[in-house]
């Protein structure tokens, strides 16, 4: 069977599985829709959190980014896993004790202010949208390759699927579906990794393969990579802080991702679903353990893919080029503009002939190719397409294809290649549905029920929630077609925004009894405002990185510092929270005496 047939089979079967689970677990009341009952075991909740958490960015984009950046790719690994530690230690048990639906709920209650609640809802929606956009782009890439269509058509298909999918199941469905999705995505990630590691180094464990000698080469993989990189003019693979990724930027991006993790609303909401504070802690452990399985494997895939790509492309003629190159060429995610010698040159210098189409339209790319042909023939109207694309910053293949293409590069069986597509889809779907749920609960619960119509019936709230999901999917699809960057970069922006807005106010809300309403709101606005303007200015406005040379991905750290600074500076001038809030803080800090207070249903009804 061909790769395409296998893909249809796997995608069809896994998708059917998710829908069946969602249907079996379907619940019609709001409580079930937002936070599934209380009976989810910590390990299953951990697995669902891991699936929720590991998005298309983790699955499709991360190993690709490591493959391209080498050492600096580690900032994503450290950022996302290190953030989990902050989440588990600083937030999870306390928010679980608090026991309300959403993060804005906590902020609204703790700072006793609807203004704070609205600012938090706006932040949550903003962050979630940025993140969902990344997922849509990921789904689009999967479909574009396997249905052999343009990446934008892939995004349309993805939008339709996510929409049907997200409106069908409730949260109860989502938890168990996500458990299934975790298994699909982790198996799909590990299978090719093990196969490639065996093929290149003979080590069955990819993490050991990473440090092993290449079969038939007599040199270690990483040593060989450093050597090839030096020969072709790329920056070293293992040496840190070369080129644009200096120590400060790597540090800032890692820290922004860490603090942002702790502020991501769709991950936090997961901790409300376990039965008590102790289970929330165990759930955090299981989640990180399951996440680490993928995160520890990604560096191995990244290194093997880098080797396979350089080895498979550089110096080859049209006839010698591997099959996978041609399949991906159709998507526009990898382009070859020859200098006329007929041999492909993939280097880190001006002689590079490998590019990607990025945000350019099909017509623009065709024009560049045509001009390039004319230039090759020496016609005056021609233009060197390589220079054009290099100037547009489009050197090298699209990083997002690397994980999907790796099994093809290594010549693995067709069914493995197709299985990876199903895995990528599982990763994107699980995260997208989790996020859409946060967006809809933020609007339906925090705005509609708590502020607009406090008398709303469950039916009305559910209807608002579903409508919001519909609108959200369409907006996110639009963002997926016009993305402001690579999947994992888009996601990094979301984390930066979360770090700059939520993290300081939640942490201070738990660990300080002094911080009052006005300083917290001022801090949140200052943090997210600064970060959002800086990111937009850098990505669209062509700003230089004027804040200490920190790029848009790491700027969330500065926004977070600003948030802390504004909040703490203003605190002495404003009153401390009143007695009822003081009691609330003390009760959050205390795992004891929870009793019925731990029951989500009752705490919601009590409002």
């Amino acid at each position: 069977m061909s790769v395409q047939t296998w893909t249809f089979l796997f995608v069809g079967v896994t998708f059917g599985l998710y829908l069946v689970i969602a249907w079996l677990a379907r619940v019609s009341d709001t409580k079930g829709f937002y936070v599934a009952g209380q009976g989810i075991p910590a390990a299953a909740n951990g697995m669902a959190t891991a699936a929720d958490w590991m998005s298309a960015a983790s699955f499709i984009s991360m190993a690709g980014i490591i493959s391209t950046l080498g050492y600096a790719g580690g900032m994503y690994l450290m950022g996302w896993t290190g953030g989990y530690v902050l989440l588990a230690l600083l937030l999870a048990p306390y928010l679980r004790k608090f026991g309300h639906f959403t993060v804005p709920d906590f902020i609204g209650d703790r700072y006793h202010s609807n203004t704070a609640r609205i600012v938090a809802v706006v932040c949550a929606i903003f962050v979630s949208f940025t993140y969902v956009a990344g997922q849509m782009r990921g789904v689009g890439i999967v479909f574009s390759r396997f249905l052999e269509v343009d990446v934008n058509v892939g995004v349309y298909i993805g939008v339709a699927i996510v929409f049907v999918y997200a409106t069908l199941g409730g949260m109860k469905g989502i938890t168990w579906t996500q458990v299934a999705q975790y298994w699909v995505l982790i198996t799909a990630f590990l299978t090719p990794a093990i196969a490639i590691s065996l093929q290149y180094t003979g080590a069955a464990i990819p993490q050991i393969g990473l440090g092993s000698e290449l079969i038939g080469e007599g040199t270690a993989l990483l040593e060989k990579l450093d050597q090839i990189h030096a020969d072709l003019g790329f920056a070293s693979y293992t040496e840190p802080f070369i080129g644009s990724w200096d120590k400060l930027n790597v540090f800032c991006v890692a820290l922004a991702l860490m603090a942002g993790t702790a502020g991501l609303p769709h991950v936090i909401v997961r901790f409300y679903t376990v039965k008590n504070v102790a289970a929330a802690r165990w759930s955090a452990f299981w989640a990180l353990l399951f996440i680490a399985l993928l995160y520890l494997t990604a560096p191995a895939i990244g290194a093997f893919a880098r080797y396979a790509m350089l080895d498979g492309l550089h110096g080859k003629t049209e006839a010698q080029l591997p099959e996978w190159f041609h399949s991906w060429e159709q998507t526009g995610l990898i382009l070859w503009l020859d200098d006329g010698d007929g041999a492909l040159s993939y280097t880190g210098t001006a002689s590079n002939e490998i590019f990607r189409s990025g945000n350019l339209g099909t017509a623009q790319v065709a024009q560049i190719k045509q001009d390039h042909e004319q230039w090759l023939r020496g016609e005056a109207s021609g233009r060197d397409g390589r220079a054009v694309l290099r100037q547009a910053g489009l050197s090298g293949p699209d990083r997002d294809i690397i994980v999907l293409a790796t099994p093809e590069m290594a010549g693995l069986a067709a069914w493995i290649i197709a299985f990876v597509a199903a895995g990528g889809l599982a990763a994107a779907l699980s995260t997208a549905s989790g996020l859409l749920l946060v967006i809809s609960s933020s609007v339906a619960h925090d705005i509609y029920f708590r502020i607009v119509n406090t008398e709303a019936t469950e039916g009305q709230r559910l209807l608002v929630g579903r409508a919001v999901i519909g609108v959200a999917v369409i907006v996110a699809g639009f963002l997926g077609i016009y993305p402001p960057g690579f999947v994992s970069q888009v996601v990094a922006f979301a984390f930066g925004l979360a770090a700059a807005s939520f993290f300081p106010v939640i942490v201070l809300g738990i660990f300080s009894r002094r911080v009052g309403t006005v300083p917290a709101i001022a801090g949140m606005i200052a943090g997210i405002g600064f970060t959002a303007i800086y990111i937009l200015g850098s990505v669209y406005g062509g700003w230089s990185h004027w804040a200490f040379g920190i790029g848009p991905q790491g700027i969330g750290v500065v926004g977070m510092a600003l948030n802390f600074l504004v909040t703490l500076t203003l605190t002495p001038f404003f009153p401390a929270p009143d007695q009822s809030i003081q009691d609330l803080i003390l009760s959050i800090r205390e795992p004891e005496g929870a009793g019925p207070g731990l029951n989500i249903d009752r705490s919601v009804e009590a409002d």
Binding site: V85, P240, K247
Partner: protein
């Protein structure tokens, strides 16, 4: 009698919170040293050494730090859940005295 019990209950809660904070700070220091320290700030220097064929700074950034993070949460869950249990027993004792 009730006043004494209230004071003792408050002391127990304060003691629990203090122990919680100490545990958390210790774990966060390890977190910072392994992730931000070994993985980033000292990565260039650590690359002079190697582990299993992988330069050490590079290894910390892409493997070691993650392993440490998983261990940290495991330790946190075990220590804190034990602390919770002890705290529960202390409170029970206080409540017993109250009754």
């Amino acid at each position: 009698m009730s006043d004494v019990a209230d004071t003792r209950q408050k002391e127990a809660i304060d003691r629990y919170w203090k122990r919680n904070i100490i545990t958390m700070v210790i774990l966060l220091v390890i977190w910072a040293v392994a992730g931000l320290g070994a993985g980033i700030l000292f990565a260039d220097k650590l690359n002079a050494f190697s582990i299993g064929g992988i330069p050490l700074g590079f290894w910390f950034a892409q493997q070691g730090s993650i392993l440490v993070f998983v261990m940290l949460i495991l330790v946190y869950a075990i220590v804190l859940n034990r602390l919770d249990k002890r705290h529960h027993e202390e409170l029970e004792a206080v409540r017993g005295a109250k009754a």
